[in-house]
Symmetry: C2
Amino acid sequence: MSNTNPARGMRDFLPDQIRKRNYVIGVIKEVYEKYGFEPLETPSIENLSTLTNKYGEEGDQLMYKILKRGEKLKKQLRREDEVKEDDLADLALRYDLTVPLARVIANNRNELPRFFKRYQIQPVWRADRPARGRYREFYQCDVDAIGSKSIVVEVELISAVSEILNRLQFSDFEIRVNHRESLRKMVSEAGIGEEQTSDALVSLDKLDKIGAEGVYKELSARGIDQTAASAFLDSVNQESIPKELAELTRMIPQIKIDLSLARGLSYYTGAIFEMVLTKGDFAGSIAGGGRYDGLIGMFGKEEIPAVGLSLGLERILMIMEERDMFPDDLTTNAADVLVTIWNEETASDSLKLAGELRQNGLRVTIYPQPDKLGKQFKYADQIDVPFVCVLGESEIAENTVTLKNMKTGDQETLSVKEAIERLSDHFVTTDSK
Amino acid sequence: MSNTNPARGMRDFLPDQIRKRNYVIGVIKEVYEKYGFEPLETPSIENLSTLTNKYGEEGDQLMYKILKRGEKLKKQLRREDEVKEDDLADLALRYDLTVPLARVIANNRNELPRFFKRYQIQPVWRADRPARGRYREFYQCDVDAIGSKSIVVEVELISAVSEILNRLQFSDFEIRVNHRESLRKMVSEAGIGEEQTSDALVSLDKLDKIGAEGVYKELSARGIDQTAASAFLDSVNQESIPKELAELTRMIPQIKIDLSLARGLSYYTGAIFEMVLTKGDFAGSIAGGGRYDGLIGMFGKEEIPAVGLSLGLERILMIMEERDMFPDDLTTNAADVLVTIWNEETASDSLKLAGELRQNGLRVTIYPQPDKLGKQFKYADQIDVPFVCVLGESEIAENTVTLKNMKTGDQETLSVKEAIERLSDHFVTTDSK
């Protein structure tokens, strides 16, 4: 007997969880498509060189690398000198959906339209320390617009993601915005050297979690002197709107400028966003993104502007669960009807009846083997099936079926045709008939 | 500039490919659910110990292992003695969907119903040599029934998968069946030792690809003597129906007994199946599976019977593409309508119009920036959008919009309300209004 738990930080999803996930993913896809975004998927595994040096220091550390195989690995293991981590891997698991997108754009420039709007809903992997709501495999729901520097694109992205959150019944989200250019200015005006910009932003990004004092300490630890660190932290509390964001504020008046918003990833170059829930125990960021006009150019000949937003599916699902936000009519059972089996000889009759019911649009399961009727009802109860079709010897002889309503306990012997009509009226909507 | 191709054996899916994949996946899900199967998902990453020694020799070799990280890795790299492959990894990527299912069943026995029917549509990874139609990341669409030894379960699985193939318009598939028990008898009656059963079956499994002579050579290479190898190969041509399969043949008369069918994976214990296309250039297996009554017991305290079938999505898609089998009405464009932008000042008006059109159920994209009208039309053509809403200065002044039909070239200036009505009539079906 072995350990049957999923690996650390990983999850199995049982049917009810999948139905909830699919409901949320369905809403996200529908809205993204209504805004003219097209679906794209990329492989889970990328060449290591595609991913490294794109996310900043932390990203490189948390990446899952894949062990070389066969001769390539043997060659390394035979080496006399010291073997390094990077000698052992040339592939890695996708760390986000943005860097793979940049690679795809550079690789398919001539096949894709000049302005390319895509959405992508796939898992990513990060070897982070597992915590409440933080997993090592999790879905991102990204939406990106490629090819334009116009602010119209930022507005469309924010509108699409806002519409998704509204449709899912989130009423307390705030759209926080900052700009990498104004952050860079703050860093330099505080007297922090250009080479430490990234250090300063990574620290600032933790303000929510560790507070001003924590950030101050971290800045010091990273070798930024006291005066500069204080000046930098002070500048976050300015009231003025950075000029880079004036137009966006005009077009979406409800956005909130947040000068402390930094975002961890190193590829952002312009506006950066976060959608934050503000009420209750479950406050926090559920979407984020920004403009990254330099990333695609790292892969191709051309600099191509781009901007994107990513919805955190796991976070959204966790909060919807805790706030009880799923619609009441979400399917939660395996079937509309269970067909019983009387004995081995009548199994084919039960299979035939199940087939007829399915042809009429019903979701039908069959008890897999002959058994006491009581056990078959008990199972129907366990899997929460609302109706049972009992097909015993007398029913088969008379070409009837006994239909039992598991909720009321009522049962009635009907012709097969009547039973199908009764069930169809109950379950099958007009347009799917 | 770096290599922008996907890693070897991996693929990027552009929008039209995803739409085709989603169409096929949609049909598969719908049928599985009609048969009472419930959705389940498992993590991409499993503990290495979960996966090893389940698939046979080849499987263990083709598994993608994940490099240890941090201190765990450093410890290995510092070792004085020889470092082995298995010292460097304790995680691996999912190799199929059956072994993870067995782990989940063992882990959730009390939460799952006594008979559990699940489907699972997720990618798996195998470091196989890439070839036409063979990739290193590919989707499997599995359907499994847990908890019963009854043949009813085999019948239901074969019916469900047959219905999927029929719905996708495959008319030339054959259901081939064999039984591991009768294979084992053939092996032992040929005089091959029990310890070489797995060798003999792995070789036999290649009969289609390498022919009888090839199998004969491979059996010899694996140390099976000439007499035994010949006797074994002869026994495959028997005409009789193995007694283990008599009942299944009675219940599904159209199945074909194929005594040479072996299937590579080592966990099968009973009936094994393959769905094979028989016509044209693209013949070959598109689904396979079997009964594996021993696998779940390897993880838990209990032996639990199980049987499953797996549809090969990549193969199905490849053949549907080559045979031109996709429905004509599959959506192939990003939007129903493109809204133009006249200048920076009127961008908000265009955004507002796009919003109104979306509220009326239309899929709407917006040209992202002010540009010459000709360029905006050219782009609409490129992304294959059937209608363009031109919103110029005069239209804005008069609260109208010029609607251009990109197919006929006709254009007409209408009130916004009229334009919405016109477009809704064209695109929005009654029930989604």
